[in-house]
Symmetry: C2
Subunit: 406 residues, 2 copies
Amino acid sequence: MMNEIDIKAGLHTVAGFTFSGVCIGDENKKNLALIFSEVKETIGVAVYTKNDVKAAPVLISQQHDSETPIKRVVLINSGQANAFTGKKGFHDAYHCVSTVANRLSVNKEHVYLGSTGSIGYPIPIDDIIDGIDKVSEGRGSSFIYAQNFIEATMTTDTRPKQAGIRYIDNGKIINIGATVKGSGMIMPNMATMLCTVLTDVNISHDILKSALNTAIDKSFHCTTVDGDTSTNDTVFLLANGYAKNKKIELQDASYELFVKNLTKLLEHLAKEMIADGEGITKFITIKVSGVPSEENGKSIAFSIANSPLVKTALFGEQMNWGRILMAAGKAYTGLDFNRLNMKINNIQVIRESEPTDDKSHNEAAQTLKNRDIEICLDLNQGDYEFTAWTCDFSYEYVKINAGYIS
Amino acid sequence: MMNEIDIKAGLHTVAGFTFSGVCIGDENKKNLALIFSEVKETIGVAVYTKNDVKAAPVLISQQHDSETPIKRVVLINSGQANAFTGKKGFHDAYHCVSTVANRLSVNKEHVYLGSTGSIGYPIPIDDIIDGIDKVSEGRGSSFIYAQNFIEATMTTDTRPKQAGIRYIDNGKIINIGATVKGSGMIMPNMATMLCTVLTDVNISHDILKSALNTAIDKSFHCTTVDGDTSTNDTVFLLANGYAKNKKIELQDASYELFVKNLTKLLEHLAKEMIADGEGITKFITIKVSGVPSEENGKSIAFSIANSPLVKTALFGEQMNWGRILMAAGKAYTGLDFNRLNMKINNIQVIRESEPTDDKSHNEAAQTLKNRDIEICLDLNQGDYEFTAWTCDFSYEYVKINAGYIS
C-alpha cells in the first residue's frame, strides 16, 4: 500500500532499527524503552516543548542536538517526568545517557533522552541504571519488539498508537514509521506527548529539520486538548538512509514528497492522540476560512478549540452557536464578523452574520449526537484558512484530572 | 463607616438616582431594569468587552459615549443578549433607546443600554417597549427599588451583589455604590458581566474615564473564571456631582483618593462575582512576584488561573504543584525558572526551584481542603508583581455548561 496510512505498519517496518521495552523496579508495566539504530550514519532531529519550564531530558537532548547530527539511541522512561527535579534531576539524566552510551558503544551526544510521567518526581535512577543492561539485551527488529518499546513509553494511554506510510521517489521505496504516546494532557499527573518517527530516507540534516518543522506545524501544532503544554513534549525523528535514494539536499520535488508523506503520517497520529483521550466523547474539527492570514485563522480556531464553554456545550450536545462566536471574537484578531457564514456538520446555521432558519438549526442540532463534529467558519475576507482538531470537556475529564479515580 | 466596604450600602446610598426593576412578558422573574439620574449634569463613562463580536447594545452605548459625556439613563434587559442578532438586533436596540429617552424626556445619547442572556436570540421588543412605561413609573430611590433594579439584571446569579464605600475628601463626604451581575461566564447560555457604579463625586469627564480604567485594571481585569469573555460585558459609571466637592480635574491627591476607593469597591465586587459562580468549590488567589514587569506577572498568573489542569487538580484538592509550574511555563515569558520560590497557603513548597521537604508538602496538601487557596510564586528576578483571582473547575461546571440541569 503506497502513499496511504498503514495502521499495520509502524516503527518495525523501517529496516535498520532495533527496539526494546522492559519492566524495571517494582512496576507491573513496562517502563523503560529503547530504540537503537544499527547504522552508524543515522541522523536525528527533534522538536521540543516551548514551555519555559523544560524537563532535564529535554535540555540534555537539545544539548546533544547542538553537538552532532548523528543520533543512534532513543531512551525513554515512563512514570516520572524528571521535570523540576533540581540538580539531582540533571545528574540522574546524565547518568542515564553515559550508561546507555557506554553499553551500546556510541558517543553520549548520539543519545536522545525522554521522560514522561509526574512532574516534580525524580526518576528511579538505580532501577534505570540496572535496567539499561536488560533493555539493551532485549532488542529485536520485529513488530513485537516495537510494540514493547511503545508499551514502555505509555502512561495512561488506552492503546499503543503507531502507523506507517510508504512511497516511491524516483524508483526507490521510502518508509516512514511513527508512534505517539499521550492524550494531550488529559491525564492525572501525566504530562507528556512523546512522538518517535523513524525513516530510511537519505536526507541531509538541515533539510530533515525543516521537513519535521513543516510537518509538525500542520499536524501536532493543529491539535489541542485543553490548551495546556507539557514540560516534556518532544518529537524525535531518526533517518538512517537505508532507502538508498539520491540524497535530498534541497527543498526540491523529493523534499516536497517526503514532507507530504511525513505530514500525512503525523496528522494521523495527532488525531489518534486526541481520539485516545480518556473522558472524550467528541472529536471536533474546527475549520476557519476566508481570513487574511493563516495566523488569524489559527488564533480564531484555537480560541474556539480551547474555550471551556464551547467544549462543555458540545459534550452536552447543545446547539449553542453563540458560544462559538463568543470564542471566535475573543481571539482579538480585529477582523470583521459582519459577513460570517457558519456551518455545523455541513449544515448552514449562519449566513452573512444572520441565523438561518429553524429547520436548519434543528437539523444541525440533531447532528451534534454524532461523535465527529465539524464546525466551519468562513469570515469572507481573505484567502487563508486553518484547521484545528480538539475534543470536548466531559465529566470524565474533571473526574480524571481531579484525581477521583474510583 | 468610612473607607471600608459596606455591604449594606450600594446604589441606593448615592443620592440623586432612582431605580426600578419590573417583570415583562411571560417571565416570572424581573427582567427589565432602569436607573434614572434626576440631575441634568450627570456624566457617564463605560468600559466595554474587548471581544471582536460586540452585542448591539454595546455598540450603541459606545456610539452615545462619542456624542456627549452626559448620561442620565441605564436601561438593561435580561434573558436575551441581543448579540449576533443581525440588523433586527440593532433596530430593536435603537427602538428601546428612543422610547425610554422619550418617556423620560432626555436625549437619546443620554442613554446607556445593556442586555444580558442568550447570544443569538432577539430581545422581546414588543414586551420591552410596553414595559418601558411600567419600569419608568415604578421608580424609587430607596433600598427596595435598587434591589428591584439589581434583580431585574440577574440571570443565574444566586444572589444580588452590591456594596458601597464612603470617604471624606477635604471635608466633603463622597459616596460610591455599585452592583454586579454575572458569575464570569459559568452559566448555561448566559454570557455577561454587567456592573453599574454610581457616585456623587464632582469630577471632569476625562478624569472619570481614567479613574474607571485604572480601577478596572486592578479589579475585574484581575479575575478569570474560564478565560472566556462575553460579547456584552460592560461597566457603567455615572457621577452626578452631588457631593459638592471641589471638582476633580487633574490626577491630584483627590483623584488618587477617588481611584483608591473605587478600586477597593470594584475589587470587592469582582471577588463576589467569582464567589457566586455556580459549581465553584474554591476561591483561588494567584500572586506572581519577583518579575521584571507587571505584564510578565499577569501572563503567568492568568496562564495558571486559566489552566484546566490546575483548576481540576484544585477541585480535587490534589497537591499537584507540577501542573502549576507547567502552566507558569506555558505563559512563554522567557523568564528564568531556576530560582523560583513557591508557597501554597503560606507554606513553602519550592525553594530556589527545588521541592522542600515532605513535611511541608503534606502540610500544604492538608490546606487544600480549605475553600480559599492562595498560591504565591516568586521568580526572584524583578520588582513587579500581579495578583489574579479565579475559581476551580468542578463537575458542576461541566454539568451546568453542558446544559444538564436536572
